[in-house]
């Protein structure tokens, strides 16, 4: 029973340390740094330009679609480069595998294209 309690004690200690760490770091920061707020200082930072509108402004949803497509094909490259280096040893098996992989990705691209996601209007 004591073994059991001890092993669970670890969890409690772990949790305690996690909370304490955050508390200490934030607490220490607010304790050490001077705090003299002015209206300009609390303003959102936008490269020295006066901010316009609300902080919660909406961006165009199309940005996300493009960003997603970009990440998708970016990650694809990570797989394709090493594969290309060793293609000879993989033989036909490797070729077919990669063809399937690219087919599925292209299917996604075709989907986005057919649904009009690539048009910017």
């Amino acid at each position: 029973m004591s073994d059991f309690l001890r092993s669970y004690l670890t969890v409690a200690i772990f949790g305690g340390v996690a909370v304490a760490l955050v508390g200490v770091l934030l607490g220490l920061g607010s304790f050490l740094r001077p705090s003299r707020p002015t209206a300009t200082k609390t303003m959102a930072y936008e490269s020295g330009v006066d901010p316009v509108g609300d902080m919660w402004s909406q961006s165009n949803i199309r940005y996300y679609v493009f960003a997603l497509m970009f990440v998708l094909f970016d990650v694809e490259a990570v797989f394709i480069f090493p594969w290309a280096m060793r293609l000879e040893t993989y033989g036909y098996f490797g070729l077919v595998e990669m063809a399937i992989f690219i087919f599925i990705l292209v299917l996604g691209l075709a989907y986005a294209w057919r649904k009009g996601m690539l048009k910017w209007v």
Partner: protein, 513 residues
């Protein structure tokens, strides 16, 4: 896992193609093929494809059943099939779970057909995502490796997040999806943290090897009587991650909002298939990965089980919306399913058999209940419990079906649920320790509490007046009718002939490797 092969070396190392058992992998490949086909059809035909997508998805699932049946047939000759050094295993357990996933997926598609077509929904994508999620579950049933478990988990979760928000322009549905997503990634993060600790401490990702390293000192190789702190932490984190997925208390808060906001077929899918997938992962982790550390997972499971039963049932008593009621009752049911895991270290076989039977029966009766809710909502347009009042007077067939499901969920013989609950009692009493008996009494008390709200629903259906005295019958489309018939028959067969069913659920889970 040995990474040395991946390091750059001077000579070109000959490539050894991993042996792939195509027969064993065919269910997954067929599902993948149909998922791609659905998208392809959508890409080519656009709106003209809409009317065929549901049928295509359904056919895909039925075709997937074929290799599962042939694999099951071969199982007696070939024994379990192991691929990728034990990371992917096809054994009795994985086959029965795959069958449950595919059949419940099929029922969900039957439920969705008219619902999605008649409402304001994207159609083709819906079925594509549904198939991907089911593919994730099917993969999960065979994964005996931390990485493949995680991949399967994400494969089934990500489409589910999207499906939960499927109601266009509905704030509730957006809230449902967002809550589910945030809680889901939180759970994934915790789980991943646990997995990385496990990998760090044991240097292994294959569950059997993890198990071996959990029971011995990593430095000296001596067997350990107690756990090292880091492994305890890892085990707990991984289990907590899955506790979110199965909506066990105290990690259940997302379930009611998500269930009530999502479209009803998706709710059924989340409440049944997705939850069962979480249990499958838990079972594999506990029975294969952590089995040596019963001293760590048993108390945790005990607490999760007791808390889920009590919290789920008590909150369910106060619900006025039938879907939220089902959500909280689902929390309580999760507590029941977790209970055998709290004694799994001592009575492994029985605990496993009881969980598998429970999951099979749970799928049938819960899907059935959602089918009735869906059918009733076609007329009333509401999911409040009051809208069920007097169902018997204008839709006696639905009323009888709902009664069967409610009392099956409550565990009243001779309806399906009794054998599920009974098996759980059986496992818990077999262990027989003080804590097990306390859990048994908690189970008994909670079945009575649960009966109260299940019976209240049944009473409203039978004994109350229909709202506004409106007695126009409900038209049930054929696909929904088929879903109802399937689930009613399954629930009754499970109840009357538990012997026949337990032949299938009394399965072995091989460690693989």
């Amino acid at each position: 896992m040995d990474f040395s092969a991946a390091l750059p070396v001077a000579d070109v190392v000959a490539f050894n193609r991993p042996a792939i058992d195509w027969h064993a992998a065919s269910p997954e490949l067929i599902l993948l093929g149909f998922g791609a086909l659905l998208t392809l059809v959508d890409v080519i035909f656009l709106d003209r494809a809409k009317q065929y997508t549901a049928a295509l998805a359904g056919i895909g699932l039925l075709v997937t059943m074929v290799p599962i049946l042939t694999l099951a047939n071969d199982m007696s000759e070939t024994g379990p099939r192991v691929m990728f050094d034990g990371a992917y295993v096809i054994d009795e357990f994985s086959l029965i779970m795959k069958a449950i996933f595919i059949l419940s997926g099929y029922v969900v598609i039957l439920l969705s057909t008219n619902y999605i077509a008649e409402g304001d929904y994207w159609e083709s994508e819906y079925y594509g995502l549904m198939l991907s999620a089911i593919l994730g579950m099917v993969v999960m049933a065979s994964s005996r490796d931390l990485i493949s478990i995680f991949v399967a988990f994400e494969l089934l979760s990500i489409p589910s997040y999207m499906l939960a928000t499927w109601k266009k322009r509905s704030l509730e549905s957006n809230e449902a999806g967002l809550k589910y997503y945030l809680m889901g990634v939180f759970a994934s993060a915790i789980m991943l943290y646990g997995m990385s600790l496990l990998f760090g401490a044991s240097g292994e990702t294959i569950l059997t090897k993890v198990n071996a390293s959990l029971s011995s000192d990593p430095l000296t190789g001596e067997s350990l009587s107690s756990s090292t702190p880091v492994l305890t932490l890892a085990v707990i984190f991984v289990i907590v991650g899955f506790a979110f997925k199965v909506s066990a208390a105290p990690f259940h808060n997302w379930a009611p909002d998500t269930y009530s906001g999502a479209p009803i077929p998706v709710t059924a899918f989340l409440a049944v298939a997705s939850k069962i997938a979480g249990f499958v992962a838990l079972v594999q982790l506990v029975f294969v990965g952590f089995y040596a550390r019963a001293d760590v997972f048993q108390p945790l499971m005990w607490i999760l089980a007791a808390a889920s039963m009590i919290i789920g049932n008590l909150i369910a008593l106060r619900q006025t919306d039938i879907v939220r009621l089902m959500a909280y009752s689902g929390v309580a049911q999760a507590g029941f399913i977790l209970a055998p895991l709290a004694v799994a270290g001592d009575v492994g076989d029985q605990a496993l058999a009881s969980i598998v039977s429970y999951l099979a029966i749970y799928a049938a009766m819960n899907l059935g209940a959602f089918a009735v809710i869906l059918a009733a909502a076609r007329k009333t347009g509401s999911t409040s419990i009051e809208s069920m009042n007097g169902l018997f007077s204008y839709a006696p067939g639905l009323a009888v079906a709902m009664t069967i499901f409610m009392f099956a969920l409550a565990g009243i013989p001779p309806l399906g649920g009794w054998f599920a609950k009974f098996q759980i009692f059986f496992a818990v009493v077999e262990q027989g320790g003080t804590w097990a008996i306390i859990l048994g009494v908690l189970l008994a008390v909670n079945s009575v509490i649960a009966l109260y709200y299940y019976a209240s629903v049944a009473r409203r259906i039978w004994a109350d007046q229909a709202p506004d005295g409106d007695l126009t019958p409900i038209r049930i489309p054929p696909s929904l009718g088929a879903a109802l018939v399937l689930t009613v028959v399954a629930t009754l067969v499970f109840g009357f002939l538990p012997g026949a069913v337990s032949q299938f659920t009394d399965v072995g889970l091989i460690a693989g490797g």
